[in-house]
C-alpha cells in the first residue's frame, strides 16, 4: 500500500452559474473504502460527476495516484483506472447482459485478460451467467446492480466510484453488495469511493466516512469513529 490513490484539493463545481461544490478537500488512501454521506442535495452526486469528468470543476485539483486529471477526457479516465457506476446504475437496457459486460472491457488492449475478467465476473455473479443473452431492461433491480458492478470490474479499476448502490434494492441485496466491496478491497486492493444515503450500511463497510453538507465537506473521520461516537453521529448525521 502507500499513499492516497485519490486526492481532491479545494474543488469547486456546479451547473452553469449555480455553484454546488465549494472548497472540497478529501483523500482516499489506496485500498480503502470511503463513504460519502449526507442529506439530499449535499452535493454527493455532483462530487462523483466532477471526479469522473462529467462535470468540469471551476476550481481546485483532482489527483489520481498523484497525477492531475485536469484536461483528461471522460473516456480516458477508465484507462487511468477509474470506474464510475452512475446513479441509476447505467445498465444499457437495449444491450444484452453479455454486451454490457463486454463494453466494460472494450478499451483494454489485452483481449485475453479482458476475457478472463469477463469469466471472473460471471463466476462472481452467478445469475448474470444464466442471463447472458437477456436484454438489460429485462433484469431485476438486483441483477442490474450486479451487471453495473460487474461491468465496472471487468475494466480492472483501481478506483471505483459508486453512486447510491443501495437505491431501490432489498436489504439482503444491499448487504451482499457491501460484503462484496469489502472482499474486493481485502483481496484485490480495490479503492472505493461510495456515495450513500443508507448511512448505516455504508459506514458498516467503509474505512472512512466523509460527511457532506451544502456542498462542503463537513467532516472526514474514520468510519469506526462515526459509527461509535454517538455525539459525533448525532451532530453530523442526526441520529
Amino acid at each position: 500500500m502507500g499513499g492516497d490513490l485519490l486526492t481532491v484539493e479545494a474543488l469547486a463545481a456546479g451547473y452553469g452559474p449555480v455553484p454546488v461544490l465549494h472548497d472540497v478537500d478529501l483523500r482516499v488512501p489506496t485500498g480503502t473504502i470511503a463513504a460519502v454521506i449526507g442529506a439530499n442535495g449535499a452535493g454527493k452526486t455532483t462530487l462523483l460527476r466532477t471526479l469522473s469528468g462529467m462535470l468540469r470543476p471551476t476550481a481546485g485539483r483532482i489527483l489520481l495516484d498523484g497525477r492531475d486529471l485536469r484536461g483528461t477526457p471522460v473516456e480516458q479516465l477508465v484507462r487511468r483506472g477509474m470506474a464510475h457506476v452512475p446513479e441509476g446504475r447505467g445498465v444499457i437496457g437495449e444491450l444484452t447482459v453479455e454486451e454490457n459486460l463486454r463494453l466494460g472491457a472494450l478499451w483494454r488492449r489485452d483481449r485475453t485478460a479482458a476475457g478472463h475478467a469477463l469469466d471472473e465476473v460471471y463466476q462472481l455473479f452467478e445469475p448474470l451467467a444464466r442471463r447472458r443473452r437477456h436484454l438489460g431492461h429485462q433484469l431485476s433491480g438486483g441483477e442490474r446492480q450486479m451487471l453495473a458492478l460487474g461491468r465496472a470490474l471487468v475494466g480492472r479499476p483501481r478506483l471505483l466510484l459508486l453512486d447510491e448502490p443501495s437505491l431501490g434494492l432489498a436489504p439482503r441485496v444491499v448487504a451482499q453488495t457491501m460484503a462484496l466491496l469489502r472482499r474486493l478491497r481485502d483481496d484485490t486492493g480495490l479503492t472505493v469511493l461510495l456515495v450513500e444515503q443508507n448511512v448505516r450500511s455504508a459506514l458498516a463497510v467503509a474505512d472512512q466516512g466523509i460527511v457532506m453538507s451544502l456542498g462542503r465537506v463537513a467532516l472526514a473521520a474514520p468510519a469506526a469513529r462515526l459509527r461509535d461516537d454517538a455525539d459525533l453521529r448525532h451532530a453530523y448525521l442526526g441520529f
Binding site: 462529467m54 444491450l95 472494450l106
Partner: protein, 292 residues
C-alpha cells in the same frame, strides 16, 4: 399476370434502393436523433464524384468506389464541421441546418456541373431477361439486389458482431454511460454519419441511372420516398426500414405500371400522409396515443 410479375420484381429492385436509403436515415436517427434531410443532396454529391472519376478514368468501378469513399468522407465532414456545432436542444435547429446544407450542396454542384441532366451509366444491361417468354429481371436489377444485400449483411455484421458496432450502439443508446466506459462517443457518432452517408451514396449510385440521370435535385423525390419508407418501418428500426423500403418500391411500381408514372409523386405524398396520420410510429410500433 406477366405484367404483375414484372412490376413486382421491378418494384422490389426499386424498393431495395429505397431500403438502403431509408436504412441510412435510420442509422443517423438512431445515433443522434436527427433526420438527415441533407442525405439526398449529400448522396448526389457523391454520385457527381463518381461521374467525374468515371469520366477521367473511363472505369465505372473506379467511379463507384470513389462515390462510396466520397460518401463516407462527406458524412464525417458534415458531422464534424457542422452538426456537432449545432445546438441540439431544439429539434428544429438540426433540421434547419440540414436544409441549409441541401441548399449549399445543390448550389455548389450546380456551379461546378451545371443544372442540366447528365447521363449516368450502368455497369450491366438494364434490358430485362426473359424466362419462358416473360420479362423478369435485368442484369442490373440483379446487381442492385446483390449490392444492397451485401451492404445490408455487412451492416448487420458490423453492428452485432464487432467491437466497433457494439461501441456505436452503446454510444447511441446511452452516450453518458458509454463515455464512462471509455467509448469515444463523438467519434462513434461521426462514424455513424460516415456509414450512413456511404450507404446513401451507394443508393444514389444505384437509383440515379434508373431515373432521369444525374442532376443536383436527382435525389429529392427519392429522399421523400425513402423517408416515407423509414417512417413506414418506424424511424428506429433497421429491419423496418428494409421492409418499408421494399413496400414503398412495390407500391410505386404498381402505381407507375397500372396508373402511370406521372402519379408517382402524388402516390408518395398520399402514402406518407396516410402512414403519418394512421401509424406515426410505423407499421411495427404498438398503436399508441398520438405523440405529445
Amino acid at each position: 399476370m406477366d405484367r404483375f410479375l414484372f412490376l413486382t420484381l421491378d418494384g422490389l429492385s426499386r424498393g431495395a434502393v429505397y431500403a438502403a436509403f431509408a436504412l441510412a436515415l435510420v442509422l443517423i436517427w438512431r445515433a443522434g436523433r436527427i433526420v438527415n434531410f441533407a442525405q439526398g443532396a449529400m448522396a448526389v454529391a457523391a454520385a457527381y464524384v463518381a461521374y467525374s472519376v468515371t469520366a477521367a478514368t473511363g472505369s465505372y468501378w473506379l467511379g463507384f468506389g470513389a462515390a462510396l469513399l466520397a460518401g463516407l468522407l462527406l458524412g464525417a465532414v458534415v458531422d464534424i464541421a457542422v452538426m456537432r456545432l449545432v445546438d441540439h436542444r431544439s429539434p428544429l435547429n438540426p433540421v434547419i441546418v440540414a436544409l441549409g446544407l441541401v441548399l449549399l450542396i445543390q448550389a455548389v454542384l450546380g456551379m461546378v456541373y451545371g443544372n442540366e441532366y447528365l447521363p449516368a451509366q450502368t455497369p450491366f444491361s438494364r434490358t430485362a431477361l426473359t424466362v419462358g417468354g416473360t420479362a423478369v429481371l435485368s442484369p442490373y436489377d440483379l446487381f442492385v439486389f446483390a449490392t444492397v444485400g451485401v451492404v445490408g449483411a455487412a451492416l448487420v455484421w458490423v453492428f452485432t458482431r464487432t467491437a466497433i458496432g457494439l461501441r456505436m450502439r452503446a454510444a447511441a443508446f446511452a452516450p453518458e454511460v458509454s463515455r464512462l466506459l471509455g467509448v469515444n462517443v463523438g467519434g462513434m457518432l461521426t462514424l455513424g454519419w460516415a456509414l450512413a452517408s456511404g450507404v446513401g451514396a451507394l443508393a444514389a449510385m444505384l437509383v440515379i441511372p434508373t431515373e432521369l440521370g444525374l442532376h443536383p435535385h436527382a435525389m429529392d423525390l427519392v429522399f421523400v420516398s425513402a423517408f416515407t419508407a423509414a417512417v413506414l418501418g418506424g424511424l428506429d428500426s433497421p429491419p423496418g426500414a428494409v421492409v418499408g423500403g421494399l413496400g414503398v418500391g412495390l407500391l410505386l411500381s404498381y402505381v407507375s405500371g397500372y396508373a402511370g408514372g406521372d402519379l408517382i409523386p402524388l402516390a408518395v405524398l398520399a402514402l406518407l400522409l396516410t402512414v403519418l396520420l394512421l401509424r406515426p410510429g410505423g407499421l411495427f410500433a404498438p398503436v399508441t396515443a398520438r405523440r405529445v
